[in-house]
Symmetry: C2
Amino acid sequence: METTGFERHDHGACIRDGVSAVDARCRELGLQFTPVRRRVLELLLEGHRALGAYDILDRLREEGLGSQPPVAYRALDFLVKHGFAHKIERLNAFVACACPGESHMPAFLICRQCDKVAEAEADMRDGRLGESAAAVGFRIERAVVEAEGLCPSCQGAAA
Amino acid sequence: METTGFERHDHGACIRDGVSAVDARCRELGLQFTPVRRRVLELLLEGHRALGAYDILDRLREEGLGSQPPVAYRALDFLVKHGFAHKIERLNAFVACACPGESHMPAFLICRQCDKVAEAEADMRDGRLGESAAAVGFRIERAVVEAEGLCPSCQGAAA
DNA sequence: TCGTGAATTGTGATAATATAACAGAGGGCG
DNA sequence: CGCCCTCTGTTATATTATCACAATTCACGA
């Protein structure tokens, strides 16, 4: 289990790699990685932050890539459906996936101060929740796991 | 760790006990358990299902207890704030708390077929997510844990 | 008991998030 | 070319949630 997002890293590479990984994956799967979809992914990769659909729509509008909600929602649906982005239910917002292509049950660490979001792997079917689900005979298919708190640098800033 | 909601149980008692537990707790804490708040809690306890704010508002309207959204939202905010109910982010809906009064980090098992919701205890600060959060120095304060899948009886029905 | 301030409720308006429906554009392929 | 399929553009609308402010009710001490 690993996390990304709070450590410092080469963020330019982070965007480039994210986009090209998705690009490759789309080629593999025969999916169309259109300009709107690509741009939305770039926007999501820009900060390790969750962006609302309307934030994204505003950016698209500025750039002449579309002006109505369905444009943004369709691109986001595409990205989410294929695992290139995730929806953060707690925030009604979206983040780029930290490891596109790998199938996983993501969990998120959301800083309430700076709004950064890190992605971790946490398959709930193992572990204690999985046990208690199994105990009552519930079969877990998907899970939303969103932890909220303070990231390391905001803890430092508070002190 | 225990769950409730999928086992069969005396549901009449379930509502009565839920309401009176909250009633007692409000008395303890000097909170006003007003008619609207009581009624909303009863509605939430009726099925072990998540109800949307507007579903609740419709019921309140029928009963002459209020007709505008803030009436429902304020009652729900009260119940959630004091731990008598929880919001299911995945569904934008609300459920009564299975063990009001006890402070806890609830997790939910949501059946995608029958919409029933069971509550389990799952403190994310322990376990593997907690470890990986600790590893990057993230301090978890709250967590949304919502597992979706099939409850025992819906698995049976599917077969 | 009464006054006072705080909490609660009533109501209209509006914000924020999300989807439906259908027409048009474009590309691959017979 | 003509057909089909996917993607895009656009209007309209649905769903979820909050703001603002007036009216009322309630708790509590004088």
